[in-house]
Amino acid sequence: MTMTTDVRQAVTARGLKKVYGQGDAAVHALRGIEVGFATGAFTAIMGPSGSGKSTLMHCLAGLDTVSAGEIHIGDVEITKLNDKQLTLLRRERIGFVFQAFNLLPTLTAEQNIRLPLEIAGRQADQVLFDRVIETVGLGERLGHRPTQLSGGQQQRVAVARALISKPQVIFADEPTGNLDSRSGAEVLAFLRRSVRELNQTIVMVTHDPVAASYADRVIFLRDGLLVTELFEPTAQTVLDTLMKLEA
């Protein structure tokens, strides 16, 4: 592997290790991960419970510190940044969709969508905004508060919010984990469309083989190590790989 960053990679991680706790109680959540995520691709991360999926995502997004290794987002080595620089980087380059509790209850859907831009003090790109709003398909519900929206609608607002600041990468941790299959499908379709139409890079953690099948590529973790990957997955191939992993 060369030392220069591949420009087509939105995110790369090298020799990534994460240890929780010390001594006897130490948990090696990540034990040396080498991975890259291509620009404009939709990647799913899968693996058994406790394999380190969330930890990996948190480290990649600069929400958590790493024990060893380095991470680049674009041309920035985020493992060298302090808290303030990381915060500003998140503001500019990263979008998030969490499993739950994505929206501020005091703000309307539209205000929630605009929030990252406001925090950064940037103007919304009106063309992009209209397009995102159109894609999110909320119409007149934009003026509603989160409690007045269904779970699927809430998650779509969260995705729209992540898209609006044109981040280099969007991280989503089980975005459909709390949804029924129909709402889940809506959100996943929305995610895939934003990859196709807006050339957005998305990294998504999921447990669900069907959700993973929406991605362009699936990587599999086990015991803090990247063990295999699948391109152009279907629900069936993902399921088969998982079965093999757990065996």
Binding site: L88, E92, F98
Partner: protein
């Protein structure tokens, strides 16, 4: 169930501490008040007992109760009778009157005449000589050490004292003494003489008290009986122990008054603390709704849930009351140390302690207030349905103003306004003031009920600027401040109470000051006032005549007064020089008709006498027609004014009581002062007061009172700030995931901290604004009930200061919660449920 509660309490020690602190401070203040007054009582009792131990029996004159002006006295004959009783080893008469000490400038020292007392010889001497010796000869005197210090006299100096006829006498100062706990003597200062000299100097016709020491083996009780038998009726004869008990009881009445005053502030503090506790428990119940629901799911009854919350409040109550008692002990000791440091006439040497009563009162108040405040939240907890445990996310509480709330609130506001208006429209007096106070309380209840409704618009108003200045953190903070209107309302109302009272006090004092000084300026533009130290002393008429001859003075008004009986009441009657510069403005009637055969009466006296304009008064055997009623404040003669001719004809022996001087424009202050002093030089008993100085002293006294009251109200404000800190830290806890989300989206730590500070700032400002509005309004209403023509003044700067301080205090209260919120790790907070 109990174990679950206790485990929950222990898991949140900081929260427990913050909650307890509110009650702790309130109980601490109340306990401190008791500790302070108990200690003072005990110290006085000890001192009286020690003094009384020297006396076997004390004789006091009964006196004529109907005529209070005549001090009852005991004669030398009485003393001789007592000395003749079998078993009496020694008996001494105690003389006390006035004996004005002259300062080094040859004028009477101080604005009050020093007292002249007898210093008995032998074992009955109760005067504590601290330096030198007791007076042994007619040419010797002793001086109390405080007066000696301020007037710069030392043992060996010669001092000059005026006798009752204002003749100067010189004495050698042979010693200094300590007046101890005698409030009267410590106020005026005192000169001590031998018994005979004391009587000559003070002109006392007899003794205040005769102290008796019994011979060996004579019982005080027996001696009391024989002395009483020897004197017959008209005397009170007590044993030394009885005397000490009576003195202590009288003194306890004084401290009871102080205690009541201080406790009033304690009650206000407890009221605020109750609001804080109520709010805290409400939030806790809301936050633990799922926990409660889970308990209900696994079989806990409503009663058990209710009980667990109440148990929690009992633990908080007991803990904070006990802590409060300890703080009270410290406060009491601190207050005593401060009083000792400023040389207050309070005996020292008795240690502070918590009496059983203090402990009981402190515990009962603390526990009852805490538990009572937790009752409603506990009831709310029982309404959590078991199914709530299964819901994914606790819903945002939505607040809709119920019709009932609006109707009740409006009714209270209306009733409060009505009662207040009634008070304002009434004639000034205590009833009117009470009506305004009652109206204020009712109105405040209305505000309390409607507070959740007014919080929203107010936060939009107050937050307008911060939301624009501070970008996203500002906007979010303003949103957060009103997202739970009930919670925000209770939090801010706690602060409102303190700010309302502070504003009210400052409005009332400022208005009082303005009213008094404007009336004086308008009607009596006086530069100097010549008066006397003693109430019954007078100024020779030559002084006014002399001053009138000086070209520097524009007008010189002499005021003569005396007491006479009108309609069976003892009334002040007087006259004053008519001068165009002194506009005596009547409240009703006209001074145009004021001439021979007529009288002008101040309003209060007119009411007492039951006379109105047109009625006729009879004084000293002559009738006078009342032509005008005068203001009670700015009138030269308080009571009945007659013309100079009428007055001099009726009371030819009356001399001037005071002389008012107005200096001509353009005369320098030093020049006029020199002339006034030169004119009064020959009369050592005559005092010259510059009105500017007098007003300065008046202002200072008023400022002092305002400061003390504001300081005492500060406790309530402090407790309400704890409430803001508590609410905020609970809200922060509630919004852990929200904060983490914001941080993930790119809000920096300082921005997150700022967001919470602004929220607290907005809350503080809302509380202060409502308080200032209420305080100013009811302050205005209160001043309307004091006197008729009030000059209303609002201390705008001071009020703005209260508002600004409340905002800043809110920010300070947010410091800790904000720090904790900013320190939390994003990943950890996101995971928390």
């Amino acid at each position: 169930m109990f174990r679950t509660t206790l485990a929950g309490l222990l898991a949140h020690k900081l929260r427990l501490l913050l909650t307890s602190l509110a009650i702790t401070l309130g109980v601490g203040f109340i306990a401190g008040t008791f500790v302070l007054t108990d200690t003072i009582d005990a110290a006085f009792a000890q001192k009286f007992t020690a003094d009384a131990a020297k006396i076997s029996v004390a004789v006091l004159p009964d006196g004529d109760k109907a005529d209070r002006r005549q001090d009852p006295i005991l004669t030398t004959g009485d003393l001789a009778k007592v000395r003749g009783v079998r078993g009496v080893a020694d008996a001494q008469g105690i003389v006390q009157g006035t004996a004005p000490l002259l300062g080094k400038n040859g004028k009477v020292a101080g604005s009050r005449a020093t007292a002249g007392i007898s210093v008995p010889e032998g074992a009955l001497n109760r005067t504590v000589i601290t330096e030198g010796s007791s007076p042994a000869a007619a040419t010797e005197a002793v001086l109390d050490k405080d007066t000696a210090k301020t007037r710069e006299f030392a043992v060996g100096d010669t001092i000059t004292v005026l006798d009752a006829k204002q003749v100067k006498h010189q004495f050698t100062l042979v010693g200094l003494f300590d007046v101890g706990v005698n409030q009267e003597l410590s106020f005026t200062g005192a000169v001590g003489f031998t018994a005979d000299t004391a009587r000559q100097m003070t002109g006392a016709k007899g003794f205040r008290e005769i102290d008796v020491r019994g011979g060996d083996g004579v019982s005080p009780e027996g001696l009391r009986a024989s002395v009483a038998a020897a004197l017959g009726s008209g005397y009170t004869v007590k044993t030394g122990t009885q005397l000490a008990d009576d003195l202590a009881a009288a003194n306890n009445m004084d401290t009871a008054f102080i205690r009541m005053g201080l406790l009033l502030f304690g009650v206000i503090a407890m009221l605020v603390a109750a609001l804080v506790i109520y709010n805290t428990f409400n939030i806790l119940v809301a936050q633990r709704a799922r926990e409660m629901a889970l308990l209900r799911c696994i079989g806990a009854t409503k009663k058990q849930v209710f009980g667990s919350i109440l148990l929690e409040s009992v633990v908080v109550g007991v803990l904070s009351s006990v802590l409060g008692l300890l703080i009270g002990l410290g406060l009491g000791a601190g207050a005593l140390a401060v009083l000792g440091a400023v040389d207050a006439p309070i005996p020292t040497g008795v240690g502070v302690s918590l009496s059983t009563r203090t402990i009981v009162v402190g515990l009962v108040i603390g526990i009852i207030v805490t538990v009572a405040a937790a009752l409603l939240p506990a009831r709310a907890a029982t309404r959590v349905a078991p199914i709530a445990a299964l819901r994914a996310q606790v819903e945002e509480s939505t607040f809709r103003a119920g019709m009932l709330r609006i109707v009740f609130g409006a009714l209270f506001l209306l009733a409060g306004t009505g009662i207040t208006a009634l008070g304002v429209s009434k004639d000034p007096g205590q009833d009117a003031l009470l009506a305004v106070m009652a109206g204020g309380c009712v109105f405040f209840l209305g505000v309390l009920i409607l507070a959740p409704l007014i919080v929203k618009p107010l936060s939009a108003f107050v937050g307008w600027l911060p939301a624009r200045l501070f970008g996203v953190p500002g906007k979010l903070a303003v949103d957060n401040s009103r997202r739970n209107p009930k919670r925000a309302a209770t939090t801010t109302v706690a602060l409102t109470i303190g700010v309302t009272l502070m504003t009210l006090i400052s409005v009332v004092t400022t208005t009082t000051r303005a009213t008094v000084s404007e009336q004086l300026d308008a009607q009596f533009p006086v530069d100097y006032m010549i008066g006397t130290q003693q109430h019954d002393a007078t100024i020779p008429r030559t002084v006014a005549a002399d001053l009138r001859s000086k070209p520097e003075f524009g007008s010189v008004v002499a005021v003569r007064e005396t007491q006479t009986r009108i309609k069976g009441q003892s009334v002040n009657v007087g006259t004053f020089t008519v001068d165009p510069e002194f506009k005596v403005a009547p409240v009703t009637g006209s001074m145009q008709d004021f001439g021979p055969g007529t009288a002008a009466v101040t309003s209060w006296t007119a009411k007492e006498l039951g006379v109105a304009v047109g009625d006729t008064l009879e004084a000293a055997g002559k009738g006078y027609r009342v032509v005008a009623l005068l203001s009670d404040q700015a009138t030269p003669v308080y009571g009945v004014s007659l013309t100079e001719q009428d007055f001099d004809a009726a009371f030819p022996e009356a001399m001037d009581r005071s002389v008012l001087i107005k200096v001509k424009d353009g005369v320098a202050a030093e020049t006029s002062r020199r002339i006034v002093e030169a004119a009064t030089e020959p009369y050592p008993a005559v005092l010259v007061e510059s009105v500017t100085e007098t007003r300065g002293a008046f202002d200072e006294a008023l400022d002092m009172i305002t400061m003390i009251i504001t300081g005492l109200l500060g406790l309530a404000v402090l407790i309400s700030l704890l409430g803001i800190a508590n609410t905020l830290s609970l809200s922060v806890h509630e919004r852990t995931r929200e904060s983490a989300l914001l941080r993930a989206l790119g809000l920096t730590r300082p921005q997150l901290r700022r967001m919470l500070s602004i929220e607290a700032f907005v809350l503080g400002l809302i509380g202060a604004l409502v308080g200032v509005a209420l305080g100013a309004t009811f302050g205005w209403a209160a001043t309307q009930t004091m006197v008729n023509d009030v000059v209303f003044r609002a201390p705008v700067l001071q009020i703005l200061g209260f508002v600004a301080l409340s905002g800043v205090a809110g920010v300070v209260a947010a410091l800790l919660p904000a720090r904790r919120a900013a320190k939390a790790s994003i990943v950890g907070s996101l995971a928390s449920s």
